[in-house]
Symmetry: C2
Subunit: 163 residues, 2 copies
């Protein structure tokens, strides 16, 4: 099962390396990862997605909690949460098919961020599933380039991870 | 100077660890990082932001190119590029100030993704500067929780990183 794990950790060189190293040393795969500073500049928040059964996820959470730079760990799947990721996609277009792509971008509530005679670059946000379905509709032959952030998430309602 | 570095690499456990380990071993800081799969499932694309002078960035690029899992490295700052990041932010609200926050979210072209009597959760995309300015306007005391992806970027026009 896919899990979205959120980690609050010290904003210092080495913390990211320790977290990522823990996964690779144990052969746990990271499907996507995003890390950035929070409103408290001494803390970073890292979100990663991984696949695993309950026992494996429990092991991962236990090992992460042991890291000295880690302040708090949370498996977002334990409760309801909002998930989003962002994609930038450059599409090969002609005068003929441009309208069709613009309509798709509009349906997915995306924005065009750059355009040339032969290309169209758009940003789309949504769950990983939504982004996957958009990529599928554009089609491999029209995609010139893709870059997507790792998924991020916040618990629904008033629940927070604040320490 | 702030640099946005884009890395196309093999989608396998260990590649991410090697890239991140290179930075921490040399004491280079990573300000933000995003990694996810591309349209080619055998490749991941990693984007990171770091601070450094020309000589340091040149060193980093050289070292990254030496890693066997790395297919291509690009310093996006070398040419014009589009940069975006995504933030989820949970705001403490009352019946009195909710409208004010909704207006700010609208100005920044964000979307409300969750709401309770006492909270409002929104998604905003933009450059790091735009996201920073939004956070500044919301104000520390009203922020319950923040999670932001690392910045991602694509070269403008028809330039791609495809191999």
């Amino acid at each position: 099962m896919r899990h979205v794990i959120s980690i609050l950790m010290e904003n210092e060189s080495g913390a990211l390396s320790r977290v990522v190293g823990l996964f690779s040393a144990r052969g746990y795969n990271i499907d996507s990862l995003s890390v950035n500073v929070t409103d408290d500049k001494t803390l970073s928040r890292l979100t990663l997605t991984t696949q695993g059964d309950e026992r494996m996820i429990e092991q991962i959470l236990k090992q992460l909690n042991k890291l000295i730079e880690v302040v708090k760990v949370c498996d977002l799947n334990e409760s309801r949460f909002t998930e989003r990721e962002l994609i930038l996609i450059k599409i090969r277009t002609t005068a003929k098919d441009r309208k069709e792509f613009l309509e798709l971008i509009q349906i997915y509530r995306g924005n065009v961020v750059d355009v040339t005679e032969r290309t169209l670059t758009a940003e789309i946000t949504g769950t990983s599933d939504k982004v996957d379905s958009f990529i599928g509709l554009i089609g491999q032959t029209s995609i010139l380039e893709i870059v997507r952030t790792g998924a991020i998430g916040l618990g629904r309602g008033e629940r927070t991870m604040k320490v």
